[in-house]
């Protein structure tokens, strides 16, 4: 018997792709199985494949906005003729990135189309390991909020994990940092990498004092309390430390004006160095202005035309479950993904600005990807939206917790509103909307997947894995 010994990486990639294909054929949606197999068969395969990417890779991380920012970065780069290669939302651990690269490569362990630029959304805890493998040319950090405490532990732990990563960089890498988030901004101090800051400079848009559930308003350098001139969103804003004198760095990429347009989007005026560009984003909410700024700053770090980048950003619509609208049973369903109190507050605040009262379906799961601990709903300012809700339905594994939350927020909750089964919840909530009007669906991660599966089964949206790559 002749033994043919192919290159280990090629063999690993081929085996991984075959098994992935079988898994998909059986209806599995796993995005990391190919990576798991490839890793076992050929260690360091990720490094080897990433090294083939002609224009290098960009890593995007932070608590909120990774997926949207990655999509915006990809769009901005594509507009300048680059071909972005990126991982799907949720495949943001090292294994998921390995899978992405394996699925893009051929039988010889070589990428099909190496003339590309990698744009990889990275889980915060996994970022250092991913960057060791990818050796990115840019690392984009959006923000740090208290997320799922039972998975990541304290925010300080994430900063501690990131410090050695940053200390080990060279000027070959650019850090793209949110100047308005003190925890992120402080990472740029004395960093051996190049640093580009982005932030908001729009004085008409901010509030006077930190939001009630701000996670961290102490100085990352000396732990004294930070003073804020202006707050945009949770602990993001214009801050300074009276004790040690450290203050928000001035961003090279900034939003000078922000004009919200309900759920349709946001008008922005962004300045990159000396160039000022106006654009209409198709994404609503201040949190998306930050995502757009991150993308504009990344394009600037790569010396791409700001005008072309902003024009591309204007084309990007909402991604999977992020202020996405689908049509079902003769109604508009608006889908919002929430993961933590800050993100939830921004969504609820946005809903509170709409003509109301609104019909709301809120879905709370406590599976691993959602976070087993749902205490965070008590940090979310449901009180602000409760008065603005006409008909509420609560679904998911922790539907009853939501019902209690709304009851204590002053909403007249009844047992009939608790419908744990998500398909039944969507069906009844949709049927009950006012005059066949819209339904607003706010859901945690695995609950949003369930919404997606249900709608796909009804023929409404394509299974998200079949969607074309990109936003």
């Amino acid at each position: 018997m002749r033994i043919h010994r192919p290159d280990r990486a090629a063999y690993a990639a081929g085996a991984a792709r075959t098994i992935a294909g079988l898994s998909r054929a059986r209806g599995g949606g796993g995005t990391s199985l190919p990576g798991l197999i490839a890793e076992r068969l050929a260690p360091r395969i990720t490094e080897r494949l990433a090294a083939q990417i002609a224009h290098g890779t960009i890593a995007v991380s932070g608590t909120n906005g990774k997926t949207t920012t990655s999509a915006l970065v990809s769009a901005a780069l594509a507009a300048s003729g680059l071909r972005p290669l990126h991982n799907r939302a949720g495949a943001n651990l090292l294994r998921g990135i390995t899978s992405t690269l394996v699925m893009e490569s051929g039988s010889r362990g070589m990428l099909h189309k190496p003339d590309a630029i990698g744009v990889f959304e990275c889980d915060e805890a996994a970022l250092p390991a991913i960057c060791t493998a990818l050796r990115p040319v840019a690392i984009v950090l959006t923000n740090l909020f208290r997320d799922q405490l039972d998975r990541y532990g304290e925010m300080q732990a994430i900063v501690q994990r990131w410090r050695p990563l940053i200390a080990g960089l060279t000027s070959r890498t650019t850090l793209v940092l949110n100047a308005d988030d003190p925890l992120i901004a402080a990472l740029g101090i004395d960093a051996p990498a190049k640093v580009v800051y982005f932030g908001m400079d729009c004085r008409t848009f901010g509030r006077a004092a930190p939001a009630e559930n701000a996670d961290s308003t102490s100085c990352p350098l000396c732990a004294a309390e930070l003073a804020y001139d202006l707050v945009y969103y949770a602990h993001l804003g214009h801050y300074r430390c009276a004790h040690c004198g450290w203050a928000r760095p001035l961003p090279a990429v900034r939003a000078d004006a922000v004009v919200p347009r309900d759920l349709k989007g946001t008008g922005v005026v962004i300045t990159v160095a000396e160039e000022t560009v106006a654009a209409e984003l198709r994404l609503p909410g201040v949190y998306n202005v930050y995502n757009a700024l991150a993308a504009a700053a990344t394009a600037a770090a790569l010396d791409l035309s700001p005008r072309r980048a902003m024009s591309a950003l204007s084309e990007v619509g909402p991604a999977f479950g992020r202020a996405e609208t689908v049509r079902f049973a003769g109604r508009d369903l608006h889908l919002f993904l929430v993961k933590n109190p800050t993100g939830c507050d921004e969504v609820l605040h946005l809903l509170g600005t709409l003509d109301g009262p609104i019909d709301l379906l809120m879905l709370l799961n406590d599976n691993a990807a959602d976070g087993h601990d749902v205490s965070w709903i008590w940090d979310s300012r449901v009180e602000g939206i409760a008065w603005h809700v006409r008909n509420a339905t609560f679904g998911g594994t922790r539907a009853a917790d939501l019902a209690v939350r709304f009851k204590y927020a002053g909403y007249p909750t009844t047992g009939a509103m608790i419908v744990p089964d998500i398909r039944a919840a969507i069906t009844s909530a949709t049927a009950a909307t006012r005059d066949g009007g819209p339904l607003y669906i706010v859901a945690t991660y695995t609950a949003m997947l369930a919404v997606r599966r249900f709608l796909a089964a009804q023929g409404v949206v394509k299974h998200y894995l079949d969607q074309a790559k990109g936003a």
Binding site: R146, L149, D150, G153, E154, Q156, N213, T217, A223, D366, H372, D373, V374, S375, W376, I377, W378, D379, T397, R398, A399, A400, D401, A403, V404, R405, K407, Y408, A409, G410, T413, T414, G415, I418, P420
Partner: protein, 249 residues
């Protein structure tokens, strides 16, 4: 302020910025709403670092959980500026609820992961030692037997707490509790209750919320609390118990 209310219930929330790690403000909301629904007016008084308000005129005290850094930031203030007044009022029956990091500081001491020790205010006969970064944290859904009833919540702590006297709050049915070895959860001494339960604790455990409110109204000489319709809370409580049972290893 409600003009013809039965009176005002004053809830002191200790260190709301530093010690509100994870939804623990839900306990304030639960107490406040349940008092409002009975016709009381409610004042929630945030108590930060600095001078201590008059604890004799306060009806309930709540302190939530916090990261190690937050505990270090408030421990000295708690001991020197708040401790004596709290101790004195607790002797007179002032109900105090302390969660997680707050619970630890109500004990004799908390020895952190780095070996440093924070002295507590000694309102509860407990000592806490962090098991070290290498040791697994006590994380997960927890169900506790409290008298003839259950308490349900979520725990997440590296510290292991041991009673040196007094009584636990309850016995662990599912989860780790104080230290994962002796089956105790929390501690009760008079009107002072410490526990590791987040969730938030009181919304899904209305019987415990009412226990605290009853201690408060009794201390003020006010009439007993009429019952409330806890249908929604009970559905959530039972669902949480079932979920914990389904996840039990």
């Amino acid at each position: 302020m409600v003009t013809d209310s039965l009176g005002t219930i004053r809830i002191a929330h200790l260190y709301p910025r530093q010690m509100s790690i994870y939804g623990d403000t839900g306990n304030i909301r639960a107490l406040a709403q349940r008092a409002l629904w009975r016709g009381y007016a409610v004042d929630v008084i945030p108590v930060d670092i600095g001078p201590c308000p008059d604890m004799e005129s306060v009806d309930l005290v709540v302190i939530g959980g916090g990261e190690d850094r937050a505990q270090r930031a408030i421990a000295e203030d708690l001991r020197s500026l708040k401790g004596p007044a709290l101790r004195s009022a607790a002797e007179g029956g002032l109900p105090i609820l302390a969660i997680c990091g707050g619970y630890q500081l109500l004990g004799a001491f908390y020895r952190g992961a780095d070996g440093s020790t924070l002295m507590g205010i000694g309102l509860l006969p407990v000592e806490t030692v962090h098991a070290g970064e290498a040791a697994p944290r006590c994380v997960g859904s927890i169900v506790v037997r409290w008298g003839s009833e259950t308490l349900v919540g979520f725990e997440n702590h590296g510290g292991r707490t041991y009673l040196t006297g007094g009584q636990p709050l309850g016995r662990v049915q599912i989860g780790f509790g104080n230290n994962g070895s002796d089956g105790s959860e929390g501690c009760v001494a008079g009107s002072v209750i410490g526990t590791y339960l987040h969730g938030a604790l009181l919304p899904k455990n209305p019987h415990l919320a009412d226990h605290l409110l009853s201690l408060a109204v009794r201390r003020r000489g006010l009439p007993p609390l009429p019952p409330l319709d806890d249908t929604i809370e009970t559905i959530a409580h039972r669902a949480a118990v079932q979920r914990a049972q389904a996840r039990k290893r």
